[in-house]
Symmetry: C2
Subunit: 476 residues, 2 copies
Amino acid sequence: MSTSAFAEAPPVAPDVIAQIKAVVGDAGYSEDAMRVDPKLTEWRGKWKGHTPLLVLPKSTEEVAAVVKICYDNNVAITPQGGNTGLVGGQIPFGEILISLERMKAVRDVAPTDDTMVLEAGLTLLDAQQIAEKANRYFPLSLAAEGTATVGGVISTNAGGTAVLRYGVTRDLVSGLEVVLPNGEIFNGLKRLRKDNTGYDIKHMFIGAEGTLGIITAASLKLFPIMNSRSTAIVAFESSQKAIDLLVRAKQETGGQVEAFELMGRYGLSLVLKNIPDTREPLGAEYPWYALIEVASGDPEGASASMERLLEAAFEENLVLDAVIAQNETQAAEFWRLREDHSAAEKVEGAAWKHDISVPLSRMAEYMEEGAKAIEAFLPGARLVAFGHVGDGNVHFNVILPVGMDPATFNAMRDEGAKVVHDLVHQYEGSISAEHGLGRMKTQEALLYKDPVAVAAMQALRLALDPKRIMNPHVLF
Amino acid sequence: MSTSAFAEAPPVAPDVIAQIKAVVGDAGYSEDAMRVDPKLTEWRGKWKGHTPLLVLPKSTEEVAAVVKICYDNNVAITPQGGNTGLVGGQIPFGEILISLERMKAVRDVAPTDDTMVLEAGLTLLDAQQIAEKANRYFPLSLAAEGTATVGGVISTNAGGTAVLRYGVTRDLVSGLEVVLPNGEIFNGLKRLRKDNTGYDIKHMFIGAEGTLGIITAASLKLFPIMNSRSTAIVAFESSQKAIDLLVRAKQETGGQVEAFELMGRYGLSLVLKNIPDTREPLGAEYPWYALIEVASGDPEGASASMERLLEAAFEENLVLDAVIAQNETQAAEFWRLREDHSAAEKVEGAAWKHDISVPLSRMAEYMEEGAKAIEAFLPGARLVAFGHVGDGNVHFNVILPVGMDPATFNAMRDEGAKVVHDLVHQYEGSISAEHGLGRMKTQEALLYKDPVAVAAMQALRLALDPKRIMNPHVLF
């Protein structure tokens, strides 16, 4: 097996292409460059692939028939959702490309059961809106939600901004329908919260990055809509103090913290400088900030919780300054300060991005040591660390030193990543907290993963996909 | 392969026994009947097994060495936790019996990370107390918690009374250490909330009933201790009204409902009649009751939520009567009414017990149809339906008709189960919501499970345990 990032699938015989076309009909595939090309390029332009055929099945049965043809003929497949992935797992290099963009049925919405059954081609935004119409909340939320699909976020076990309270995508799935690599349909669209009748194999497919089959539909968990919400920007003298407040906040609110996003001064200063219509949230500048959101079922609960929390934090000198949003407009302004970090970074030029997690108890120390290691490796490099610290996850990004040649900087990318990731490994962390491995990080992950775990994953993969036709160059 | 309930493992060669003894030393095994026999009998006396050797390893390395010997010699193993299982999965019939009762180390408690790493031999009660000492809450709670072990509850994916808010055991595990069937050690004791670097294979071992390896230690999630708690007994004219209130309660409290346990009048009347020192909770008799518990981080939050909820429910004629516990003693009294259902049933004589789940939206109809089906099958049979309706899970138990010969009744058990389970299947439910399949229900489950799912499970099992040495007669 090869897991090289740009490894190519062998050519596909014309009669196989013809068989697939016959199964899906004229509307079920495309050879139109206008339609195909956008699916061959990753949105930042990092990957440019190619495919012998873009297949667009309209039903689970069609997906199954196409996969069966590929299985019988040893033809490799890359499934693609909304093409918003950041590690190249969705880009084919000679594989048949299957997109479920025509599978957008809402199969069932059952508010009493707190579940909805959606086809894989619906977007995450669709999912949120379908839930809302049923007077429920679907908490998965991320920047690309208007484009990312249900199938895609499940296949990559996406994270996002509400993980602290609701968990990752894995925690939001109660059942799956999957076309297995041999073309059979696994019908596991359960609405049950409890079912102990054998292995819960849906977990194999969640986060499998399309290597164990194609998720065609999912039963998703719904949650109550909160009756009050309070958002604040809080300033700290150190990242450790921010983490201390997070720990306190979780305890004191009884788990009502929905978001706890950390920002350093340098990252915030880039937002203020590079993004129009943003403004300093507090009266002075501070080394560290957190955006904190608390939500409650009690209509008065969130602001009461937030005030109680900050009052105690001031008394104990945990925080330097704080401002609570007075209305939704102000809350949205606060969120923009956090969400525009990526855009603000981009203006500064080339950057190495790292999506890492470490145990919360070691996070502050990791960030300090990481900053030193980067400075030693490339003096003048500008570190922007921000993100979902509530989940032990930060985006630890390194912008090129002012005046450095971008090509030289980009050429050092892998070495730079090794500096960051070696340290992550030393701190018992993960080199991919939420983005997955794809083609980009699979080889690198082998440096850090337990060989017994990798061997077990390979054995399990072989059991479900003995011919390794599903996204063969992604994962182990 | 055979999955017959009483299928026997072949005899084990004396030299294999000798090798195992040499690895674990004198303290690491037992042939003393006083020590071995209690582990061969299920606590209700339904199963009486036998073993060539009880092995009591003291470390993960010893477990690995013993399993490796068995693997090399094709010798079957049954792992056993606290021996509180209800489906016979822990009873050997000729297999080597491995108990981790000597593995009780607390490897790590990290309140900042909201995790603790415990060895498999600690009891569930130990786990709760270790969490409490760290000022955290470990929510898994069930009747057998003083005896059930960490390894056992994970291997069976146990449910219990706090699933509604915190999920089943699967949802409470952040990492596992497992000795695989080939004797290798999978070291997955992560404290991370987010790690997307390949398949999350811990989920294969959770609920696998000892068929994929031996869980030696686990990293468990910790939660905030709630600052207020309110418990009520509420009366309804129908089970549907109870479910309507449950749905409302989840929404209005923003997910603060910790328990919602349904009881019918007949079950409650048996508790009042058969259990000393219990008393009628309300001023009159009603057809249905629920025990509701709400908990909040806000010191005043729980009782305010409960009062608001019940007030609105009275106004809309959802409830007939209600009483809120005024103190912890009264709350404990209310809980006893629920928890003594099994003991109260026992006094009435033989019963068929069913641990089923159906989607909440179909629960009331299922219970009505189920009652009719049981009455048609065995007129006079006494139905006691109670339990974790908040999870769509009820214990649907059938007591023999007054005056019927118990032997005749017991002989009809399988046929009776078929009546109950056929209907469960029709209602998209599960025939084992929380107890697992073990030796008792594996064959029966095959009647209802998706054959594609069963084939996938078998392929995955074969991948990890090619010689099928782990609990070979349990699961598929």
